[in-house]
Symmetry: C2
Subunit: 193 residues, 2 copies
Amino acid sequence: MKKKIGPRPIIFPMPALLVGTYGEDGTPNAMTAAWTAICCHDPLCAGVAIRQTRLTFDNLMRTKAFTLNVPRTSHAAEVDYLGIVSGKKEPKKLAVAGMESARADKIDAPIIVDCPVNLECALVSQTKLGTHTWFVGEIVETHVDEDALADGDVIDVPGLDPLVYITSASQYYSLGKPVAKAYNAGKKFKKNG
Amino acid sequence: MKKKIGPRPIIFPMPALLVGTYGEDGTPNAMTAAWTAICCHDPLCAGVAIRQTRLTFDNLMRTKAFTLNVPRTSHAAEVDYLGIVSGKKEPKKLAVAGMESARADKIDAPIIVDCPVNLECALVSQTKLGTHTWFVGEIVETHVDEDALADGDVIDVPGLDPLVYITSASQYYSLGKPVAKAYNAGKKFKKNG
């Protein structure tokens, strides 16, 4: 039996990424965003919803650049802090959280060094939807911690231990166990192999 | 130490949602999408990236409506199949996967009954980014399995057992253990409580 509960923003799971931008005076800033996704294969793009009242909104409009940074579960408290406190109130919030940043390679934004995966995104479009604007950036470079790489450039995801966000319950989780191989488990339904 | 690996579409984790639409003759269709996110608070919107060659693209352009459906880990193989086979090749793919649909309440799209959470989305905007178009829909209704609801309308997420998608490794996972409470764990960094 289903129950109708009205419009609700519930997708499970969500990531909890750090969006890195530079402030007007060059101070590195990061805010936590769960409303984010890859959104185009060619050109390769990522998108993120930013509320217009956020410092990240102002920064992004000015620099046309942002990074998306994937945190580990060990940084759950830092990630949470970067989501609940605005850079407008605490301009040095990254430093307060004890997180280190470095200038990105190809864009005018900071990567968050403590995060094992960092995507450099060059703004290509923005769509004002209401309270939030959907910013799309072309992914122009990716950084990965060497200890999160297995053979070649394959990412050791359990080793990376990414933080998982569960909305509605407002809870951070770890990743669980492998359930099935993608592009494979579904083949059993194919009539012609 | 960081290694640069070039532009890569790697965000961890991703959801693996089913996007429900109706075909021209009314046949319910679903495709799997990991490139999806909530993208506005007011109006409450969800977005999904759809490749222009997909049947879902044609359906969405015609009906201006789609559903987002959150599957359980027990449906990993079905979800995988719905991602690897196009409705253009197998118009009855939902039936082949043994999944049941029902007409949505407020829009012209099918909800996937086997999924414990279903969002009804009425198309409000579309942005062509390249190979993919980012479709945004206003969430106009949400259905939840009654057995996935705890007291009141709180969702029992571990009970719901949502499927987690890990790109790059192309692996479906289950949810792990609670790590920290959101909007709370970060308070320890706040100077003024």
